[in-house]
């Protein structure tokens, strides 16, 4: 009878790759035998690497695998199929294969190992994790085989971790060393936990384990530093955007504008309006944010030009009065927006292409919208520098900054340059509002939270220096985030403020002081 069965199977499985087919079919007869035969057969099936093995073993484990003479049938809710050919079959006269504990243990391991090569990625990922939890030296060959054909990086990483964990369970010290070395390279929290466990279980390899722990700790420290750096850069880029406009109006014109934060807020509300306008036009929706950038620039720039021509112009040479007056203007703007839009937060939806997280080397996770804010702030900085350096307007602006009277005698209309400069700086504030709408609540007092920090950035970087603004913003952001873990967010802020005051003691004109006559 056995011989007949073999013959049948060989005929049936022509299409399969020879090696897998042989191992698969060779394992099947055991299922008809006693419990020991079944357990052996289960192990063989698991090692065969045949795609039909997994559903078969699952059916066996659930009591859905039926035998009838020489045929194996899988019963499911819908129908009964032949376990080997997959063809529909009749369940009449078939009986379920019974299991005992030994078989169940073998099945659990086998299914786990087989899932590692499943065509379904989520199944492979789950299996890789399951093998990690039930680590045993038996899994080493199957993990090695699975790794060889795995291509998804995330699953590969999990498999490598599981493999290293399984190797630690091996009795051969050489294999254990391999595992330790792999863990040292992995450099994750999990690897660290495994190594700590291994230090207790294998005292003989304590030296290797300790060396590996040092390596893992170093990798973890690097990742943590990279994370902090990213968060700091992200905060710094926000500060940069908010401070850039201020650097132009305060640094270039010497006019302190306490309403600057409200211009940022106007930009954010311009974003809200543009988004509302685009709501009904489906193809425009994803592009509402890029459209909001020029809109916010124009709205805030216009407001700035009006403020300069209407009010600030009359107060040149009286900086303290300018400060108070612009503060009052900020109050009025804030209250006007509060009455017009309501005091509650307005939501700005990020377009799909800005959502989600990116995976970077070292397992670093990076949120996309923050990345876009960093890129955006650098682009705005670049454009600002280019405008000041290469355009006619920039040239006139620099001339007026250096010497107003001489510039006027050369035919530059200084009043017009003042208005344009102020509008330019305010427009940058408006663009900052677009970026802030992505990471902060849009509310009438959006700007107040950033205004003091922005002034700190400008003072720290050096008034009148855009490079100083860049360095000042990024370093303040990073320092803030560096201090946060052990001082808390609020104390970090206080510490930064105090540190800045002490810094000004040493460098009253900031990091990048202006040189020459313009400085006084």
């Amino acid at each position: 009878m056995m011989r007949f069965l073999f013959a049948c199977l060989v005929v049936l499985s022509f299409a399969l790759p020879a090696r897998a087919q042989d191992a698969f079919t060779a394992a099947l007869p055991g299922l008809f035998g006693g419990f020991n035969d079944i357990a052996t057969s289960v192990d063989q099936l698991a090692n065969a690497g045949d795609p039909r093995a997994l559903p078969l073993l699952r059916a066996l484990s659930d009591g859905r695998l039926l035998k009838r003479e020489t045929t194996l049938l899988i019963r499911s809710d819908a129908a009964t199929t032949d376990a080997v050919t997959g063809a529909a079959a009749d369940a009449a006269g078939a009986e379920a294969i019974r299991l005992n504990n030994r078989v169940r243990v073998a099945l659990r391991g086998a299914i786990g190992r087989l899932a590692l090569v499943s065509p379904d990625a989520t199944e492979r990922a789950a299996a890789a994790e399951a093998v990690y939890r039930s680590r045993s030296a038996e899994n080493i060959p199957i993990l090695e085989a699975a790794l060889a054909r795995e291509s998804v990086p995330r699953i590969r990483a999990q498999m490598e971790l599981s493999l290293a964990a399984s190797r630690l369970m091996a009795s051969d010290p050489g294999v254990q060393r391999q595992g330790i070395a792999a863990l040292a390279n992995a450099g994750t929290e999990n690897a660290r936990a495994l190594l700590l466990e291994a230090r207790n279980n294998t005292p003989a390899l304590a030296d290797e384990v300790n060396a590996a722990l040092v390596a893992v700790d170093r990798a973890l420290a690097i990742r943590r530093a990279a994370e902090t750096l990213y968060q700091g850069l992200s905060l710094g880029s926000v500060l940069l955007l908010a401070a850039l406009g201020l650097a132009v109006t305060f640094g270039v014109m010497g006019v302190i504008n306490m309403a600057h934060g409200e211009f940022v807020m106007l930009g954010a509300y311009a974003t809200v309006i543009v988004q509302d306008l685009c709501k009904d036009i489906p193809w425009l929706q994803p592009w509402s944010l890029p459209l909001a950038v020029p809109a916010a620039f124009l709205v805030a720039g216009l407001a700035g030009a009006l403020l300069e021509r209407g009010l600030i112009r009359h107060l040149y040479g009286r900086p303290l009065e300018t400060l108070l007056m612009t503060f009052g203007v900020g109050m009025i703007l804030q209250q006007a927006v509060r009455l017009a839009f309501g005091a509650q937060n307005r939501e700005v939806i990020s377009p799909a292409w800005m959502q989600g997280t990116l995976e970077m080397p070292f397992g670093l996770m990076v949120t996309q919208n923050r990345l876009w804010v960093i890129v955006f702030s650098l682009v705005v900085l670049g454009l600002t520098i280019a405008a000041i350096r290469y355009t006619r307007f920039g040239l006139e602006m620099r001339a007026v900054t250096q010497n107003r009277r001489i510039a006027a005698t050369m035919g530059i209309r200084t009043g017009r340059v003042d208005a344009l400069t102020f509008a330019f700086g305010s427009g940058i504030a408006g663009m900052a509002g677009v970026a802030l709408s992505q990471i902060d609540n849009v509310s009438p007092n959006l700007g107040t939270g950033y205004i003091i920090d922005s002034f700190m950035v400008v003072v720290f970087g050096g008034v009148g220096s855009l490079a100083g603004t860049l360095v000042g913003a990024l370093s303040l952001g990073v320092v803030n985030k560096l201090l946060e873990p052990w001082a808390g967010a609020v104390l970090a802020k206080v510490a930064v403020l105090v540190g800045l005051m002490l810094f000004i003691q040493r460098r009253p004109r900031g990091l990048f002081p202006q040189k020459g006559r313009a400085a006084s």
Binding site: L311, L315, E321, L324, F327, G328, A336
Partner: protein
């Protein structure tokens, strides 16, 4: 600015102003007495008016402090609210200690919020606050110390003008953030309230209220004379000279740093006194007092009244707050427009304030 430099024989206008000021002070002094009259009397002054006037008197003291620094030495501090709040916190700590076992948790020593936060013993900086003289001393000393540190750092490195303003604003902002924290041991965002007594007197009696009112009024008059004395002294002239031409004063051999430091510390202490008088009157102190807006609002009182005039600063505090009280009850939405408009109007149209209008002839 010759008005304050050389003091000529008082003109009729000045005499009139002086008489008006004295009349106002007498009217203020009469308020708690008129409050005792029967309610149906034509001269009866309501409880509300007395208590709010008491607040305004404290604000006027704060305005004098700002005027001393800004109007005379040219130091525009946007952080005087911090000195005010620190003085208030010092007295608030005293008042909290006096509650004793009457708190909701009934702890003999610890204030309620500490019991709630799981403190087992009093933090060291609360020691001694059961004594009123000590608390009063701290109400002046802490603001003075802070003003001294900030002033020393700023003036030594010759931080002037708007830079100084921004730094003082950052100072009060940082303090606000710090005081909002529960683990500061100073009541967190709720601050202190539910005070029971001061100097053995329950705070909810008419006698206590009028005593506090008179204490504030006396302080206002005292602070005015102190400021007037300083501004007319030789030091006052040096301060005015610093305001108008700092470098020249320095080159003439005066220590600009010392003069500024003196006036800033004194100004901070006066603001602390104002806060110390304010807190028992209103019965609450919380970190909101540190908000930068409060400080800048106080600056506008001085600007409205006329800086460099002392009387004008007090006048500004009264008038702006009167408008605020009226407007916030009639049309609350309009108040911020009015305040913002006040900033713009005063700086553009009335740079010398209300008193500047009257004193035009002195120019």
């Amino acid at each position: 600015m010759s008005a304050t430099l050389a003091d000529p024989a008082p003109s009729r206008l000045r005499l009139g102003l002086r008489a008006a000021t004295i009349a106002v002070v007498i009217a203020l002094a009469a308020m708690p007495l008129l409050n005792r009259l029967p309610v149906d009397s034509a001269f009866h002054v309501s409880d509300f008016l007395v208590s709010i006037t008491g607040k305004w008197i404290c604000y006027a003291i704060l305005a004098l402090a700002i005027d001393l620094a800004w109007g005379y030495a040219g130091l525009l501090s946007l952080g005087h609210g911090a000195f005010f709040a620190l003085g208030g916190y010092a007295i608030g700590m005293h008042l909290m200690r006096l509650i004793g076992p009457r708190g909701s948790y009934g702890h003999p020593v610890l204030p309620d919020f500490m019991v709630f936060l799981g403190y087992t013993e009093l933090p060291f900086f609360w020691w001694g606050f059961q004594s009123f003289p000590y608390a009063l001393f701290m109400a002046l000393f802490i603001p003075g110390l802070l003003a001294g540190i900030v002033g020393f750092l700023a003036f030594r490195s010759r931080i002037t003008g708007v830079y100084f303003s921004i730094i003082t604003q950052a100072m009060t902002y940082a303090l606000m953030l710090a005081f909002f924290r529960n683990d500061m041991g100073l009541g967190g965002n709720n601050g202190f309230t539910d005070f029971k007594e001061l100097l053995g007197q329950p705070l909810n009696t008419a006698l206590a209220r009028s005593s506090l009112f008179y204490a504030a009024l006396l302080s206002l008059v005292g602070v005015y004379f102190l400021c007037a004395y300083i501004t007319r002294s030789k030091l006052g002239r040096v301060l005015i000279a610093i305001r108008d031409a700092e470098s020249r004063v320095r080159f003439l051999g005066y220590s600009v740093t010392q003069a500024k430091l003196f006036v800033f510390v004194l100004s901070g202490m006066i603001a602390g006194l104002a806060g110390a008088l304010y807190v028992p009157l209103v019965g609450i102190i919380n970190p909101g007092e540190f908000a930068p807006t409060n400080s800048i609002e106080a600056v506008i009182w001085v600007a409205v009244g006329g800086r460099g005039t002392l009387i004008g600063a007090a006048l500004g505090a009264f008038s702006v707050n009167a408008i605020k009280t009226w407007l916030t009850s009639v049309a609350p939405d309009l108040w911020l427009f009015a305040l913002g408009g006040l900033f713009v109007a005063v700086t553009l149209l009335l740079p010398r304030g209300l008193l500047g209008l009257v004193r035009k002839g002195d120019r």
